[in-house]
């Protein structure tokens, strides 16, 4: 699981592979639980207590409490699961995408209207480090 992967060179991207899936299983299954209205209510009522129901690591729980969207991905979260927290918060997919890129919602939406983030300069970590 620790071997370097060819896709690790893609900047700003976490590929949800076997290692991340194992690491993030309980974090993602917590997110999955938010599909039920009664669970959303329980989570909103007391987030910390609700998170204790799932055998997640303290770091994983903290990223949820902090709504640290990139942090969740780094600890094994998958975007289709973590976005369920966003839905629970009343945030759109585009709003959390903006947060993950460090932009404001308005700037991010404008970037998309302008044709999106170009692939040129965004293919490899080397391009980010030297760009």
């Amino acid at each position: 699981m620790t071997d370097a992967k060819p896709y690790d060179d893609i900047p700003g991207t976490t590929v949800f592979d076997a290692g991340r899936s194992r690491q993030g299983y309980h974090l993602n299954m917590f997110c999955m639980s938010l599909m039920k209205a009664e669970n959303r209510e329980a989570f909103r009522a007391d987030e910390r207590a609700y998170l204790e129901r799932f055998p997640m690591t303290p770091d994983q729980r903290q990223t949820v409490l902090d709504r640290d969207w990139n942090g969740m991905l780094q600890l094994g979260g998958n975007i289709y699961y973590t976005s369920k927290i966003a839905a629970c918060d009343g945030l759109s997919f585009q709003q959390i995408a903006a947060k993950m890129t460090g932009s404001t919602q308005a700037d991010y939406a404008q970037m998309m209207l302008n044709g999106g983030r170009p692939v040129t300069g965004n293919r490899s970590k080397a391009e980010w480090n030297h760009g």
């Binding site: 299983y25 997110c31 999955m32 998958n78 839905a87 993950m100 692939v119 293919r123």
Partner: protein, 279 residues
């Protein structure tokens, strides 16, 4: 004999469904998206397929990390729209075609494609948004639908080549079914998009255009494309486009492009759409 006459590929962006369901289709942001499907709606109304085989992916709605089938075929009588966290989409219940679905499952398994058989499954935006784009907002969907769910959430998804060959196996299965049925196959998802991390918002128009071109010019080249190229060039969620290759594999070698539409953006995504008829 049943026969696949055409293939449709389209993005399945959830925001498109939400725009339609909330009466925003006429707003300046969404109007160009729906305009791109007007000709498609006329086309499919003329085609009148009996069955649509709809290749899509579930987005942690019916499946979670508990069970992750690579290829799953819906064999039930009907499929309810999924509650994805804000109530089910107000769209008709999807009526299946269990006879043909079971026939495809058996034929594909004996053809060495190890399908998961699904008898109970809600269907999320991955399946219902393409139906809305192609059929609008009817009281009932005008044809039967066989859901074919492909895992593209847990890496690795099946290869493009495997998807293409599954398409061939589906065609063989359909053609050995003893009822006269007109079948259209949909491949959905894509095009270039990345929903996660600091690189979110990636769009690659050049990649998408070449992909659309090669569906007619050189589908074998698309089938050989490694996952790394999708991830790097089309964004982490652009890898959904392997599902288009199931559709392409189910068609003749020679196809004619009937319609194409491409638009950026719908939320975070490049919307791509193509209709291919067998020649």
């Amino acid at each position: 004999m049943a026969k696949i006459v055409a293939g449709v590929a389209t993005s399945h962006v959830p925001a498109i469904g939400a725009a339609l369901d909330n009466g925003k289709a006429g707003e300046p942001y969404w109007q160009p998206v729906f305009k791109g499907y007007e000709e498609s709606k006329r086309w499919i109304a003329e085609q009148k397929p009996d069955v649509v085989i709809l290749v899509y992916n579930d987005h942690a709605s019916a499946f979670s990390l508990e069970i992750i089938p690579t290829f799953a075929i819906g064999c039930a009588d009907s499929f309810e729209p999924a509650d994805e966290g804000w109530g089910p989409r107000p769209v008709p219940v999807v009526q299946g075609h269990p006879d043909l679905a079971w026939h495809i499952a058996q034929s594909a398994i004996l053809d060495e494609f190890d399908m998961t058989i699904i008898n109970q499954m809600p269907v999320d935006h991955g399946l219902t948004v393409p139906l809305s784009l192609m059929f609008g907002q009817p009281d009932a969907w005008p044809c039967k639908v066989i859901p074919l769910a492909v895992n593209v959430v847990q890496y690795p998804p099946p290869t493009g080549n495997r998807c293409f060959n599954l398409g061939r196996a589906i065609r063989k299965a359909v053609e050995s079914f003893d009822q006269d049925l007109k079948v259209v196959i949909f491949g959905t998802g894509g095009m270039s998009h990345q929903l996660q991390g600091p690189r979110a918002g990636l769009i690659n128009r050049e990649f998408d255009t070449a992909f659309l071109d090669n569906l007619t010019k050189d589908p074998q080249a698309l089938a050989r494309m490694p996952h790394l190229e999708y991830l790097r060039e089309a964004g982490s969620e652009g890898i959904e486009m392997v599902m288009w290759l199931v559709m392409r594999g189910a068609l003749n070698e020679a196809v004619e492009e009937i319609h194409r539409f491409y638009h950026v953006p719908a939320s975070n995504t490049a919307v791509g759409h193509i209709i291919l008829e067998n020649r």
